[in-house]
């Protein structure tokens, strides 16, 4: 099989441009294809254009925040694993956050995030 076909697609929903670029570089280096989105609304559009294998979702964003987006995504695409990725651990108290497959607190070191990505993608196999 061709490498490109095996390449897993990750939808990265993040409003900060710097972070978006960082995630793109780091995740591409890991061999993933990255689809960036600047907010929840854009994420839902991108979701309609092509199904990713996993979604990384920031919570505090303009236009449509991550919690609202999570609800919409769960209603549409039940099976795609979702990682909530935020600087605020307090959102763990929100019932809707339990609909995510993982909750990873933001850090400059993407080690935890990458580990979760691998775990969730392997689970789906």
């Amino acid at each position: 099989m061709n490498d490109n076909k095996c390449m897993k697609k990750i939808l990265v929903v993040e409003d900060e441009e710097g972070l978006r670029l960082l995630y793109k570089e780091e995740l591409e280096a890991e061999g993933y294809e990255v689809i960036p989105a600047r907010n929840g609304k854009e994420a839902i559009q991108k979701l309609e254009e092509g199904k990713p294998d996993l979604i990384i979702l920031d919570i505090v964003m303009p236009v449509m925040d991550g919690m609202e987006t999570l609800g919409r995504i769960v209603g549409k695409e039940r099976k795609i694993p979702i990682i909530l990725n935020t600087s605020y651990p307090g959102y763990r108290q929100d019932f809707m956050s339990w609909a995510a497959d993982a909750y990873v607190t933001k850090s400059v070191d993407l080690g935890d995030l990458k580990k979760k990505i691998r775990e969730l993608l392997n689970k789906g196999k």
């Binding site: 609800g71 209603g75 019932f95 809707m96 339990w98 609909a99």
Partner: protein, 401 residues
């Protein structure tokens, strides 16, 4: 006491009650002259000291909304008490509720906002009197994650119910949804333990199971999906309705069909009805306008205003006509020489002189013209009205006769 929130599912279409449900959802169907079906569940909540209540509506909800806004805005908002209406909002999903569990999941933000310890999930479709406090006490005593209210039914009815199998401690060990071959009650081969659609959940477990269900291929239904999945891994118990039955007679009715509705209504005109509406400790509340008291007039040769074995509401006038074994909602007029027997006349019905009505349900504001006969020639009636298998004629709201 633990903080409990009631969520009343009131979106039922009640298709088998057509045409009574042509203009209203099933919980808004009038019952017992002055009540709507949902009044029984809401009264149970208040009488059980549950004063934080959301009513989830969906189809044909205007009549239900009006009734609740007019009749049930009686709690104290500053004390944190309310009967709140939540129409389907499509906040999470772009379709209407897919099943009972989906209806709650779609309102997960409301659960978040209220953060109750326990969620009491009820149906607005059923008529019964129950002290939910007893079920809550049982739930806490058993340290249950979920408790399901159970009533004994004859096994022949198994295809209409969720059927539970329990161990000696009332823990549910099996749950079949509408089975043809039900598990019967040990020592009672003709009896099954049927789910009444009344659930108490610990909030956290509820939310987790709803999310799991929402993210899987499912009918998103408590009976079909959530409960069978939970009995494997959670503490799920059945609560014997007779332990919380406020009437003490095991009265619980679904009134899902016109015939069942008619029969349950006619019970009320018997000398000692199975459903006691007169218990001062368990008042059934409703909304009604202050019409003047019911009245019977005229006492002439062959023209006597009488009502026997009947229920009359405020605003009714029996003027020289005769009413037997019937239930009259407010503002019903029965004119001279008219005869009404074994019938249910809803609000504002007017029965003209010499008209005869028998074994009929006449919906609101219908004028029965002078001399017309309803219920006497079923073949003729069937050309215009709904006539049930047992010969009950239903005349729909606002029809011009």
């Amino acid at each position: 006491m633990k903080k409990a929130l009631a969520m009343v599912l009131a979106g039922g279409r009640g298709e088998r009650l057509y045409p009574l449900t042509r203009d209203r959802a099933k919980p808004a169907v009038p019952f017992g002259a002055i009540y709507r079906i949902i009044d029984f569940t809401l009264s149970n909540c208040l009488n059980s000291d549950i004063r934080r209540i959301y009513v989830l509506t969906q189809y044909k909800s205007i009549s239900l909304h009006r009734h609740i806004q007019l009749g049930w805005t009686i709690l104290s908002a500053p004390l944190g008490e309310f009967v709140g209406l939540i129409p389907a909002q499509q906040r999470i999903d772009e379709h209407w509720y897919q099943g009972t569990a989906d209806a709650i999941f779609q309102n997960i933000y409301t659960l978040q906002h209220e953060k109750p310890d326990l969620v009491l999930i009820l149906s607005g479709d059923h008529i019964y009197k129950m002290d939910y406090r007893k079920m809550i006490a049982f739930h806490l005593e058993k340290r249950a994650d979920l408790t399901v209210a159970a009533i004994r039914m004859n096994r022949g009815l198994s295809r209409e119910f969720g059927v539970m199998e329990i161990n000696e401690g009332w823990r549910i060990i099996g749950f079949q949804e509408k089975p043809e071959e039900p598990k019967t009650i040990p020592g009672d081969p003709e009896g099954i333990l049927a789910s009444m659609g009344i659930y108490i959940f610990n909030t956290e477990v509820l939310v987790r199971r709803l999310i799991e269900d929402a993210r899987s291929d499912s009918n998103h239904d408590f009976g079909r999906n959530i409960i069978p999945a939970m009995i494997e891994k959670d503490q799920v118990f059945a609560f014997d309705f007779s332990q919380g039955d406020q009437g003490g007679r095991g009265y619980w009715r679904d009134v899902g069909t016109i015939d069942a509705y008619f029969e349950a209504s006619m019970d009320l005109v018997s000398v000692t009805p199975h459903l006691n509406l007169y218990d001062p400790h368990w008042p059934i509340l409703t909304y009604q306008l202050p019409y003047p008291p019911a009245k019977t007039v005229l006492e002439e040769e062959g023209r006597v205003g009488t009502a026997l074995n009947s229920i009359l509401s405020n605003g009714c006038i029996i003027s020289g006509g005769s009413v037997k074994r019937s239930i009259l909602s407010p503002r019903v007029m029965v004119h001279s020489y008219a005869e009404v027997e074994d019938s249910i006349l809803l609000e504002g019905v007017d029965v003209g002189r010499h008209a005869k009505v028998r074994r009929a349900i006449i919906d609101k504001e219908v004028q029965v013209p002078q001399g017309m006969e309803i219920g006497y020639h079923l073949d003729e009636d069937a050309k215009r009205f709904t006539v049930t298998g047992s010969g009950i004629v239903v005349v729909p709201k606002w029809i011009k006769l």
